[in-house]
Amino acid sequence: MIPPVSRLLFRHLVKGPHTDRTVTPPDPDGSEELARALGEAVRTRLGRSLAIREVDAGSCNGCELEIHAVNAPVYDLERFGIRFVASPRHADVLLVTGPVSVNMAEALKRTFIATPEPRWVVALGDCARDGGCFAGSYAVAGGVNQVVPVDLHIPGCPPSPKQILAGLLALLDSVSKR
């Protein structure tokens, strides 16, 4: 009997990968071009690799779900040389979500300090900008920029995978202008 994993792999050989390019036609807002441009900018600045540490500083976990989606085969962020790492010490970028809760402010600061320079901070989602619908609570410090300096905001509640890709491109543009 052929084991199912072989059947699955064979199917991929015949039908091609799940990645966006083949499954759906190019999008009107051109996520494909955008992704390619992202790859080039990364190459110039950081030699084809950008390492991201994600920090949930108080989010409802909606933003995390969409970050997972960017990593999944359909968007496959890693083909552009961008990957998520486990330690801030390996990271170039901190991707911070959520209104920063008072209980997480210290941990976020320490994670920022642990990230070697040059480092960039991306605030992901509407809450990360100004606290969103949680602003004004005794337990919320506010947007990410209340705690660590922010280089870029990616809007959305939560941002779609395409918005996340577009946001990382904007970051790279500002990085190369420095």
């Binding site: 084991p3 199912p4 994993v5 059947r7 699955l8 799940h18 994600e54 920090v55 949930d56 500083a57 108080g58 989010s59 409802c60 976990n61 909606g62 933003c63 995390e64 779900l65 969409e66 970050i67 997972h68 989606a69 990593n71 999944a72 085969p73 359909v74 998520f84 486990a86 801030p88 959520g98 209104p99 809760s101 008072v102 209980n103 997480m104 402010a105 210290e106 941990a107 976020l108 994670t111 969103g132 619908c133 949680f134 004004g136 609570s137 005794y138 337990a139 919320v140 509640c157 939560p158 779609s160």
Partner: protein, 506 residues
């Protein structure tokens, strides 16, 4: 008063509260509350949620024999109440949180350490009538200890590996063997009970949908149903059916991703890749049909915000057909990979008795023989007209929790087929009557039972509200199941529980 007495008979010794719907609420004085604690040691009454307001503590119960549901409220002007944790261990953390937020002291609670309060907020007991000034230094948390030859500690978090919510895990390990795991949570506490107090209804509904992003439909639905209970709003039939459609789509999207992620933690990455593709198909259909990938703000008090277009009857059945086929393919991959089954079978066993003592719901309870599902009991429309299959397994290990998810995905796919076939026509929302009142609602999220309680005044302002996450009764069990397993199996166990940090920390 021991012996065979039902929950309603017992609570009727208290004073019923006017305007609490659809289930009653009773005020219990000191003596009646004490009697309740005694009665709980013998009665089959499940604690569904426990919360407070300044000067009053509330507990919602379900009588497992009669199916009755009621809220017991205990005014405590002296700022202390008798703890339920001795008879309902799941209450321990809830009562620690009650002390942190409202300053009401649970008398007789063994563990008096702060829980959500890390000593960093601008005040102590922020939701009490008179909050106290903050401590000078954040608290140092005294972790429980373990002593013995060769024991060492592994501290993990709050910023821990991967794209995940923050929490701290303290392991005591002997070599690879976990002797004790202790969780410390509360890092993502956002003060939701405080935000709900005095919020206009629309804003409160938005916040309710963001208590735990992965269960946004379930939370929005629970909140909406509580509001509709409080105001006596009659929701049109089409709205009920659309709500169920949204809820089942959310359940499937979460379950398929969970199955993939658990296998990924056993280093079987192809499963995560495959399931990620299936999840993306659902999210894209959500975006096309309802305008939001995670379906946030689609359920509103009074009905639903978006109607299903005519194209849905083509898009959805086609998507579901493909999904069923590819899902079955993935399941056979799981079932026919012995090296993967070897990791999941017999790992992280939760005994039925422990699950029962904590009243654990969702896949955690159902993998250990507890087949409660609020879609069936107490039930809510339109599920009364549908066949809801609730799988239950008894092994209690990681494999069983995967099996529950697989069975639930299949059950939800069947439900979606029934919903699409019988979807009634008509209005999708009804105006909310402007009346004051209190409402309680239970909704089955993919993770278990979400409980919502709300008090409204006559002009559409929320005077108080509470949202209870099923994770409250699952997190403590994770500590129990990891004992005696190896450290490397913790991610596997943790993911198979997939408790919500945000929903728990509130």
């Amino acid at each position: 008063m021991m012996g065979n007495v039902t929950l309603l008979e017992f609570l009727s010794s208290g004073v019923p509260v006017e305007g609490h719907r659809p289930w009653p609420r009773f005020h219990l004085d000191n003596r009646a509350w004490r009697a309740l604690v005694e009665q709980l040691s013998a009665a089959e009454w499940t604690l569904m949620a426990e919360w407070a307001e300044p000067g009053e503590v509330h507990a919602a119960f379900r009588d497992e024999d009669t199916g009755d549901i009621a809220v017991a409220s205990h005014p405590c002007p002296e700022r202390h109440f008798l703890s339920l944790a001795g008879v309902r261990p799941g209450a321990a953390r809830l009562e620690r949180a009650i002390f942190d937020l409202w300053g009401l002291v649970p008398v007789g609670l063994e563990d008096q350490r702060p829980w959500l309060d890390h000593g960093r907020w601008p005040s102590i007991h922020p939701l009490a009538a008179e909050p106290k000034p903050p401590p000078e230094e954040p608290y140092t948390y005294p972790f429980l200890t373990a002593e013995g030859d060769g024991l060492h500690q592994i501290p993990v978090g709050p910023v821990h590996a991967g794209v995940i919510e923050p929490g701290h895990f303290r392991f005591h390990a002997q070599g690879e063997l976990v002797v004790r795991l202790e969780e410390r949570l509360g890092y993502v506490h956002k003060g939701i009970a405080g935000l709900l107090r005095g919020a206009p209804l629309e804003r409160a509904a938005r916040i309710a949908g963001r208590v735990s992003g992965d269960s946004t439909v379930a939370y929005a639905l629970a909140f909406a149903r509580a509001v509709e209970g409080a105001t006596g709003c009659e929701v049109p039939p089409r709205a009920h059916w659309l709500r169920a459609l949204l809820a089942e789509l959310e359940r499937i999207a979460n379950h398929v991703f969970d199955i993939g992620a658990i296998c990924n933690d056993a280093a079987f990455a192809i499963m995560l890749a495959h399931m990620g593709v299936l999840r993306e198909r659902i999210l894209r259909a959500n975006q096309t049909l309802f305008g939001h990938r995670l379906l946030m703000d689609c359920v509103v008090p009074g009905g639903v915000a978006v109607d299903l277009g005519a194209d849905a009857m083509v898009v959805l059945p086609a998507m579901l057909r493909g999904l069923r086929k590819d899902f079955n393919r993935a399941v056979s991959l799981y079932n026919e990979t012995p090296s993967l089954l070897d990791r999941t079978t017999g790992t992280g066993i939760l005994t039925g008795s422990l699950a029962h003592r904590f009243g654990a719901g969702g896949f955690v309870g159902r993998a250990s023989g507890l087949a409660h599902d609020s879609r069936r009991a107490p039930g809510y429309p339109p599920y009364d007209d549908l066949d809801v299959a609730v799988p239950d397994f008894h092994d209690g290990d990681v494999h069983a929790r995967i099996e529950v998810r697989i069975a639930e995905v299949r059950a939800s796919l069947l439900l979606l087929g029934q919903i699409l076939a019988d979807l009634p026509a008509g209005e999708i929302a009804a105006p909310l009557p402007k009346v004051a009142g209190e409402g309680l609602a239970m909704v089955e999220s993919f993770r278990g039972e979400v409980v919502a309680w709300v008090r409204l005044d006559g002009d559409g302002t929320v005077l108080g509200g509470h949202l209870h996450d099923p994770s409250w009764f699952q997190w403590p069990l994770l500590e129990a199941v990891i004992e005696g397993n190896i450290v490397a199996d913790f991610p596997l166990c943790n993911k198979s529980f997939n408790c919500s940090y945000s929903g728990h920390d509130l």
